[in-house]
Symmetry: C2
Subunit: 235 residues, 2 copies
DNA sequence: TGTACATCAGTGAACGCGCGTTCACTGATGTAC
DNA sequence: TGTACATCAGTGAACGCGCGTTCACTGATGTAC
């Protein structure tokens, strides 16, 4: 037995309650204990305070989600890249990459929202309640967002999706995508009637950012034009 | 006397406390009464519940901030547009507008963050605590964001900043800007050491979105190139 | 192998506290006649 | 103009409740010798 039974039960109960109300900071020690089917003060056998539990939950959430999210991108990149011919020139190489990026973005967003639907707790808790608990937790949440963004930037590099952009541009759009995606996620969960629209908006957002970065960074006009045209074309 | 003295005191106290803790939903009736220097239950003379107060505060925030934010954009657009020569062709007209848009965006962001610094409560409360109070309030907050976005889209139209873009594209980037700007605002308030960076990121974000929309929507290649070049050039 | 001891997860009772909410009350202001 | 009455903002005491936290306790598991 790696982690004590009661501790696991308490964590589980806290996550369940927090995702139900969307507000981690409104939870009480006694409420969590009750939900876990334990004595109210068993809590103190495992955690020094609610904040300590918050730290742990946030840690679990982030460390537990990073890899799956990377897997989603790996699958998307592989599916998108498989049928591409070998390019004959640098410009053609960029074009190939961008076509792959476009397909990968769409597949990733599909996969991402499916994942959100499967594990909504993570995303509801992450955004709303937890940060209000303490400045320390707010800082940790910012850190987590930074890590997720850097994962995304790494994947963009690894799968050679946007080689025409500078590292800085990639990092910058990765951060924007991660932050905005949190907002899209809560919309997605909270308003089931607009899910299709939310997916479209998210994809449009990503395409818009990529197009903007290419327009601002690719200096050769013909190359820029042809790259932008790839994004512009349907499908 | 338009609104009762006690009511005004209670609203003021609630705003003050909520902006201090960044969590409206954690406030208590007694705490608010104490801060206002009133008997705990005077609260019930004016509000049916904490949620009712939340609605009112949100209303006041939004209705009180819409006009000032529009004024900031009006000043920015006027300052940016004053020295532009009269254009001789449609393409030149778009170019003029975009130059104006670029300057206006920078000035607006300057003015906006100054405004955030002056009235941080609005932005701290808006984002974090209030939505957790109830689904009704969350809905109202979404509505408010929609209104602010539609104000922004209107101003872009009125000052003819982006006539090369479709209405839909303008509305779409306006919504993204407003949402992202809320996040930038809390960063701005909470981490004073990174304010310059946050301003730069916000401006970069807006420029990136505009460049992306132009790249994706302007069909004439030469026009698109020359417009993008305006955004690309320094200053 | 047996015994003594330490550690650990969990229990149940109890504490003092701030909470939301209700009640009966006061005093000031407005209003009908 | 004066009087009687209604309305309204605010008061102070009181209620029952769930809260965080502490205490002394139990029983199971592991460990030293």
């Amino acid at each position: 037995m790696d982690v004590a039974r009661g501790k696991a039960l308490l964590i589980e109960a806290a996550v369940k309650l927090a995702s139900k109300t969307g507000n981690f900071s409104a939870l009480s020690v006694r409420e969590i204990g009750k939900e876990a089917g334990l004595n109210p003060n068993t809590f103190y056998r495992h955690f020094a305070s609610l904040e300590a539990l918050g730290f742990l939950v946030l840690d679990l959430m982030v460390s537990g989600r990073r890899q799956p999210l990377r897997e989603i991108r790996r699958h998307a990149a592989e599916a998108a890249g498989a049928q591409l011919p070998h390019p004959n020139s640098p410009a053609e190489y960029w074009a190939c990459c961008l076509r792959k990026a476009k397909a990968a973005a769409r597949l990733t967003i599909e996969g991402y929202f499916d994942y959100v639907t499967a594990y909504p707790e993570t995303f509801l808790i992450g955004i709303s309640g937890i940060a209000a608990l303490s400045p320390g937790l707010r800082e940790k949440l910012d850190e987590a967002i930074g890590e997720l963004a850097s994962d995304l930037a790494d994947d963009i590099r690894i799968y050679q999706l946007l080689p025409m952009l500078s590292d800085e541009a990639v990092r910058s759009i990765a951060l924007l995508i991660v932050k905005q995606t949190f907002l899209f996620s809560t919309d997605y969960i909270n308003t089931p009637g607009k899910r299709e629209e939310t997916r479209r908006m998210a994809l449009g957002f990503v395409m818009n950012l990529i197009a903007g970065s290419i327009a601002l960074e690719v200096t050769d006009k013909d190359t820029m034009i042809s790259l932008v045209e790839i994004l512009r074309s349907a499908g």
